[in-house]
């Protein structure tokens, strides 16, 4: 059957929200229309039955599990740095890598220059001054200088660290 009246109007009447002239008109229609009267009566009973339904109980295990997971998540959120903090740390890693590359490159350049011609030219004089005779002695001296230089490489990380701290402290001012 096609409805005689609008759904919203019928709903409002069913819930006692229709007042004044609208209500009077609606009731006038109900008096003349047995189908609408029957429908309202049936829906009133349906609504009462639904309102009397007991909501299904939430299983206790679900509630306990949800509480546990939420507590764990809240705790993790309190420990793990927030988004901006993570972003700052990521930026620092990039900064650190850039400084490390710069310092290493600079030192390598310096090492190449120092171990190039100037040092090689000094080595025979150095051998002579130390009283080490012959070319084999000069080779030994060169080898010793190489070993000392390699040991100096151990200082590189510390140099990088110090430059990095200097840069970041300057940035936070």
């Amino acid at each position: 059957m096609e409805p005689c009246l609008d759904d919203v109007l019928r709903w409002d009447y069913l819930n006692g929200a229709l007042r004044g002239g609208d209500r009077a008109l609606f009731e006038e229609h109900l008096g003349a229309c047995p189908a609408c009267r029957r429908e309202i009566d049936e829906l009133r009973k349906t609504a009462a039955a639904v309102a009397g339904l007991t909501p299904p109980a939430v299983p206790a295990a679900w509630t306990a599990a949800a509480k546990d997971r939420l507590r764990a998540k809240a705790l993790a959120a309190a420990v793990v740095p927030s988004g901006p903090a993570l972003a700052r740390r990521r930026t620092n890693v990039f900064q650190y890598a850039a400084i490390a590359a710069g310092v290493t490159g600079g030192l390598a350049l310096l090492f190449g220059l120092v171990m190039g011609n100037p040092v090689r030219s000094w080595l025979p004089d150095l051998s002579a001054a130390l009283g080490i005779p012959g070319p084999s002695a000069a080779r030994t001296a060169r080898f010793v200088v190489w070993i000392l230089s390699l040991h100096a490489l151990l200082l590189v990380p510390s140099i990088i660290d110090n430059v990095y701290r200097l840069v970041t402290r300057g940035g936070r001012k």
Binding site: D7, V8, R10, W11, D12, L14, E39, E42, L43, K45, T46, A47, A49, V50, A51, G52, L53, T54, P55, P56, V58, P59, W62, T63, A65, A66, K67, R69, L70, R71, K73, A74
Partner: protein, 173 residues
């Protein structure tokens, strides 16, 4: 944030929403946990423009929608509005339907309510079992206020039809 209280205060509401929108009972517990985890995650963005319960119900409905979308990725679930138009996927085996005792009025009524399309079952549940206002239901389902009333009316009519069609007319007296 007292996460235990958050779960305790809203577990019934969340359970209702899941119950009305997803028929796959095996998935209910997982969705229940997921809803609360989503709530906790989104809590910093809650601006207090609506009641917390309304906001949580909205998250619950959307979590259910996303769950169904993910679970049925091969089928087209459509938009949120399309999904609400649909009925929960069949999940209760026919033999279980038959085993519901005719005398168990509330279970029979609950079963008929569960068969309704989501667009009718959800407003009816939120209005009659959760005592929510039209405005709150409108916000949760993202529909106009007038549509809430007409869906409530249609929901009761559909329920009545289902009850009578299932030979359960006596449920309503």
């Amino acid at each position: 944030m007292d996460t235990d209280r958050l779960v305790e205060d809203h577990k019934k509401l969340v359970y209702h929403v899941i119950h009305r929108t997803v028929r796959d009972r095996a998935a209910h517990e997982e969705i229940f946990q997921e809803v609360f985890l989503n709530v906790l995650e989104s809590l910093p963005r809650f601006e207090g423009r609506s009641k917390l319960s309304t906001w949580i119900a909205s998250i619950a409905v959307h979590t259910c929608y996303k769950f169904v979308q993910k679970a049925r990725e091969r089928e087209r679930v459509g938009s949120f509005a399309d999904w609400l138009e649909g009925r929960p996927e069949p999940g209760v085996p026919p033999d279980v339907q038959e085993s519901l005792e005719k005398g168990d009025i509330k279970r029979r009524l609950e079963w008929h309510l569960a068969k309704l399309p989501r667009k009718h079952a959800l407003p009816v549940t939120l209005f009659y079992l959760e005592g929510m206002s039209y405005r709150e239901i409108a916000e949760i389902l993202e529909i106009p206020l007038g549509t809430v009333k007409s869906r409530l009316f249609r929901g009761l009519k559909e329920l009545r039809k289902s009850i009578e069609g299932g030979g359960d007319g006596t449920l309503l007296g």
